[in-house]
Subunit: 433 residues, 2 copies
Amino acid sequence: MKDNVKVGLLGLGTVGTGVVKMIQDHQEQLAHRVGCSVEVTKVLVKNVDKKRDVELSKESLTLDPYEVINDPDVDVIVEVMGGIDDTKKLLLDALNQKKHVVTANKDLVALYGSELLKAASENGCDFYYEASVAGGIPIIRGLADGLASDKIKTLMGIVNGTTNFILTKMNKEGMCYEAALKEAQDLGFAESDPTSDVEGLDAARKMAILARLAFSMNIELEDVDVSGISSVSDSDLKHGQTLGYTMKLIGYADQSDARAEVSVQPTFLSNDHPLASVNDEYNAVYVYGEAVGETMFYGPGAGSLPTATSIVSDLVAVITNMRLGVNGKSISAPQFEKQLKKPEEKFAKYFIRLHVRDEVGAFSELTKLFSANSISFEKILQLPLEEEGVAEIVIVTHKASMENYQKMQEQIKDLAVVRSIESFYRVEGEGAK
Amino acid sequence: MKDNVKVGLLGLGTVGTGVVKMIQDHQEQLAHRVGCSVEVTKVLVKNVDKKRDVELSKESLTLDPYEVINDPDVDVIVEVMGGIDDTKKLLLDALNQKKHVVTANKDLVALYGSELLKAASENGCDFYYEASVAGGIPIIRGLADGLASDKIKTLMGIVNGTTNFILTKMNKEGMCYEAALKEAQDLGFAESDPTSDVEGLDAARKMAILARLAFSMNIELEDVDVSGISSVSDSDLKHGQTLGYTMKLIGYADQSDARAEVSVQPTFLSNDHPLASVNDEYNAVYVYGEAVGETMFYGPGAGSLPTATSIVSDLVAVITNMRLGVNGKSISAPQFEKQLKKPEEKFAKYFIRLHVRDEVGAFSELTKLFSANSISFEKILQLPLEEEGVAEIVIVTHKASMENYQKMQEQIKDLAVVRSIESFYRVEGEGAK
């Protein structure tokens, strides 16, 4: 066993810089943990002359990824450059050259995680990806080791900091969506093109990774039903608050009878649910295990140093495995064949806001339609609107099947008393677990 | 490598029964994880004829612990019998016979963890104790692996479910301490002799274990300053609420400049601190790492199946290590020499409630005394009392040193205007981190 492990870094943006900093600043602590020194010796950059926050020799910087991948001295590749197809090819090449890989790339892991893990295992290499989900929160490890012996039934995550920041602003300060998005952009929490965050795609990638691990089933990105927060209105939030709910963009994964469902959607959480008080840009993952019951992991979902913490912890695991000679040994294929729930097997409560003609018999028409589809009401709120002759009705249903909801949604549009369906949200976190 | 790992169980109370159940019910999942079957073959009980919730052959039950420890077929000992000195001897004997040990015994780990870990390492055996702190929450693993690369600055825990249940009842329902304790006892959350819980000793043991791991320093039980909740009054809680605080029994561990402090004490937490909304019998551990920032692990602190989940996850780790031939290899001695903070190095805010004579100049006398000891005020609340001529004053200070607080506390008793000092609590969770 060598007494100096050499790391090749692909990418030197904010996270890459954080990784170099942590390795340099925590040298002594790392050496105590892994029994040898750790050094970043080759770094892929876009510009070798740029001034940087960390000290790296000029010779260690390169514009050519293969100078990192092919360097015979490099033991571990840390990938923080992003990208999908080219990056996948690079990492497969690295694994085939028996280099271990640590990545923070959720897009890549969501799409090609299984393939990369297989290649790693075949090469006797490690492939770790703690930083790809929820930045500094050790949730991958929590699922893989801490809750290893339990059967996970439900996993709910606030796994996108941008949307949580926006919803917190809307919820606590009564801002409208556009103003909250603008503030998130001004503070650097949202990109100038925020689509991937606000439409739920970023969260969907993370949920595919988490659900795959939690259910030991090959869940793919296209198995995740996605809807984002861009059409959430401040009146929705206000009515939700009246009824005791907080709106969050929730990644929801559930299995019963070996069938899974995974979705990302704006969801009204009961205020006493542990996730309801996760605010601002923070992330949290709530796990309901058959034996353990309710647990939650909370922390920063992004940022240079939090993400670097997860990467360096993965690096510690790789180097420990190197010293023990057991790299790649803990990778196991999914235990169960993928089976997804059909619409009639998915159950939830829903919050529905409608505008109806304020006339005799209106409510009874609604009631008839819901009962015809076996959906019953848990809460009802009726409010007059400014417009004469129109009332606003908010309904929270008891649990019913997706199949019945879909039928009801088809039919309700045709009711003469219904002027418009304003919104339709899942409700979670209360009632029988 | 054998294709059937045999477990010897010391104790078959609620947790032991949970362990047997989980191993039996999750047989298939366990086999997939560790590549072999797992079986409980010898069990120490108090009465072999007692009717039980789990199926175990009569031959597997024994009244003699050495029939478990000495059984040549047993690979791993799971200790859930409790006790200190006799149990320590048993586990040392087991380790010396090259049996791996998994324990849920916080008293034992708090007092003799270092000695047992050393014996395990010398024998090439594993010694795991996830279940000894915070039941089903994988916090030991979170600290040892997930946050391995970070420097942990502060760790705060709600690690005793009984006191958290009592304080939640007092806080949310305005109950007095005695009534809340009675309800906890009726529901089985508190023992008939609740001393160890309510006086903070149980939490102190867990904090010694957590601080040792977080700071890689040999913190001992006697290094923990302890005070309990039995003198917390409902008026304290009411005044705290007025000022935006929630009372919790907080285990506090902090290090700066390589010096540590560890305490357990009733603490006013700012309402927006993540621990403030951890209610009922739940536990949570908040960790502030230099790089990661704020994280929190939340879950059930006790209970048969949650605790069994942690034990079986430890068992999975032991068996994985067996298959890889690396047992005992990940045990490392503390990195740093123990150094504790002196009173002048401990800083905190405090909440002080006093009764003073309501006369001209009273407040200025108080002010003089606090300034003489370099303690400044952040919040002040003055209320009239029913008794004529007496006022109640609540002060929340800015951060000051323990040394200055102690001097002030000595001197304040002698002030002519002060009738009585009603309470004195640490305040955490707001202001500069």
